[in-house]
């Protein structure tokens, strides 16, 4: 497990709501684990969280820890500040990361890199856990960096 105290983005962006549907994910990230929904009926991985399995319609959705690695499926680098917390900051890099070992679900996060660094679709990345301990309730985001 890899964590960072240097945050990808300035403080002040919205914090994630943690309702019952998604709470196991946020509990997982607090413990440095990447957990996603996996249907106990048919075994399908599912992301983001939903009440029912999109494949077999089972409501018996479990949560499974998956390896915190993936590959970049797509990316963007915003320049225009869309939130007051981002004014005067940026550009920054957002990646869509595919998890091939977990049914190819995709997650959104920031790529920890220089704002001018080239980004390559297909590049291997690993998760970096970014705790926000001071928040109420506290939460931990999942960021990504290129694998060595």
């Amino acid at each position: 497990m890899s964590t960072t105290t240097k945050r990808a983005l300035p403080d002040g962006l919205p914090a994630p709501d943690q309702p019952p549907l998604t709470k196991p994910y946020w509990d997982g990230t607090r413990a440095g684990k990447l957990v996603i929904q996996r249907c106990k009926g048919c075994g399908a991985h599912q992301w983001g969280p939903e009440w029912v399995c999109h494949r077999c319609h089972s409501f018996d959705l479990g949560w499974e820890e998956v390896a915190p690695t993936g590959r970049i499926w797509s990316w963007q680098r915003p320049h225009h500040p869309v939130h007051q917390a981002l004014t005067g900051f940026g550009p920054y890099t957002i990646v869509l990361v595919e998890l091939p070992h977990a049914g190819n679900v995709r997650m959104v996060g920031n790529l920890i890199c220089e704002p001018t660094a080239p980004v390559e679709i297909g590049a291997e990345v690993e998760a970096v856990f970014e705790p926000h301990d001071e928040a109420d309730p506290p939460y931990t985001l999942v960021q990504w960096r290129l694998k060595d």
Binding site: P16, Q76, P78, H79, V82, I94, L96, R106
Partner: protein, 394 residues
């Protein structure tokens, strides 16, 4: 059993719009703009506004049907419909829903409209989130993924990368809209041409494919069309424009949460376009003029591909300015200036322009236009499209 179709069953008898304003500059309240556009559409159709018996809109339009019916003294309200989904995904669907109501006999005379004075409310390009991000946003906003442009940008990155399509193809799309706006006095960008140099020098909104001129502006105004049974349209002042085909929706799990649509690098038209062409009994080769909703130029590219107008392998060669211009380009597109340069009226202005082209009264007329396609707002779900034609196409 008779064929279930809207082909040739209804017509757009009247079109109307307000003056189009830059963001925040409308002197009139949003609801007043809606009333003005609706009355203009009735006047254009030669129909007493009190005969209107239905309203259809989309994008969570704030001008609700009950208030409109009361304000206009409508004798009897028989149909009111709000199409799910944000932005302009429902622009063609609002016309289709009006058409379905008319054809089914639920109503006789239905307005499809959009009214928007965003300046009197909140900006699209800025966050309206509170301290906590709910639902999908919980997995997006903390990473600075908030605006509409950011929601769609990674679709564009992937599609352009997969197919080796250059940013110049998107520049041609933006320039076509601005070019046509220069001969349309209604257009917000009338008198403000766009050059390649100005486009290339414009600032990044999002790398790698969203410069300033790839993104729609925000505007104030309203637009409306009046939908009536085909038989009735024959007795009205204008040459009738018939609905030939329309569809709405999205393909398999296109709205899957947190960017997990299986076919992600898509505008979500694959099934919608197929269904629309099937109803119209036409294909892209039959279309004389295309109106393709620009929220972002990359979305236009995806729409054109998914409706069969552009082969992604040939996009770099085909998407050049001269091919997109009225009157004689291979595929005249966004002939009034579109969302980018006429007015961002969430595509309703494109339905009006389609009708003008078929009547032969457009500012940038394509001679002898018989079939016009309107591709609604791309990359959301549900999306929607329609094809209109003259009497000769029935």
């Amino acid at each position: 059993m008779s064929e279930r179709t809207l082909r040739g069953k209804v017509a757009i008898a009247g079109i109307g719009e307000t003056t189009y304003y830059k963001h925040g500059q409308s002197p009139d309240a949003e609801f007043k703009l809606a009333l003005q556009a609706i009355l203009a559409a009735c006047d254009d159709a030669g129909i007493d506004p009190k005969e209107v018996d239905g309203f259809a809109s989309y994008g969570d339009d704030r001008s609700d049907a009950p208030r409109l019916a009361a304000a206009l003294g409508i004798k009897e309200l028989r149909f009111s419909n709000m199409h799910w989904g944000g932005g302009g995904g429902g622009v063609a669907a609002s016309v289709a829903n009006a058409a379905a109501a008319v054809h089914s006999g639920m109503a006789n005379c239905v307005i499809a409209f959009r009214s928007l004075a965003q300046g009197q409310f909140a900006r699209y390009g800025r966050s309206r989130l509170g301290a906590a991000a709910m639902g999908d946003d919980a997995f997006l906003a903390p990473y600075g993924l908030i605006s509409p442009a950011q929601r769609f940008a990674m679709k564009i990155t992937r599609f352009m990368s997969d197919h080796g399509i250059r940013h110049e193809a998107l520049r041609a799309i933006a320039m076509a809209s601005y070019h046509h706006a220069q001969s349309n006095p209604r257009a917000v960008m009338y008198g403000r041409p766009l050059t390649e140099e100005k486009y290339d020098a414009s600032r990044w909104i999002i790398e790698p494919f969203h410069r300033l001129f790839d993104c729609c502006q925000e505007n104030d105004g309203a637009g409306a069309v009046l939908v009536v049974p085909a038989d009735r349209a024959k007795d009205l002042p204008h040459k009738p424009t018939y609905l030939l085909g329309t569809a709405q929706g999205g393909h398999h799990r296109s709205a899957a949460p947190v960017h997990n649509a299986p076919d992600y690098a898509s505008a979500h038209f694959p099934t919608v376009a197929k269904n629309m062409w099937a109803m119209a009994k036409l294909g892209p080769q039959d279309v004389d003029v295309v109106q393709a909703y620009e929220n972002f130029t990359g979305g236009v590219l995806l729409s054109l591909v998914e409706h069969g107008f552009v082969d992604p392998k040939k996009a770099n060669e085909f998407l050049v300015l001269e091919n997109l211009l009225a009157p004689s380009g291979k595929m005249p597109m966004n002939t009034s200036g579109g969302n980018l340069a006429e007015c961002y009226m969430h595509g309703l202005e494109m339905v009006n322009e389609a009708v003008r082209q078929l009547r032969g009264t457009a500012n940038n007329q394509v001679a002898g236009a018989e079939v016009v396609a309107v591709l609604g707002g791309p990359m959301v779900t549900p999306v929607s499209s329609l094809v209109l034609g003259t009497e000769a196409t029935l």
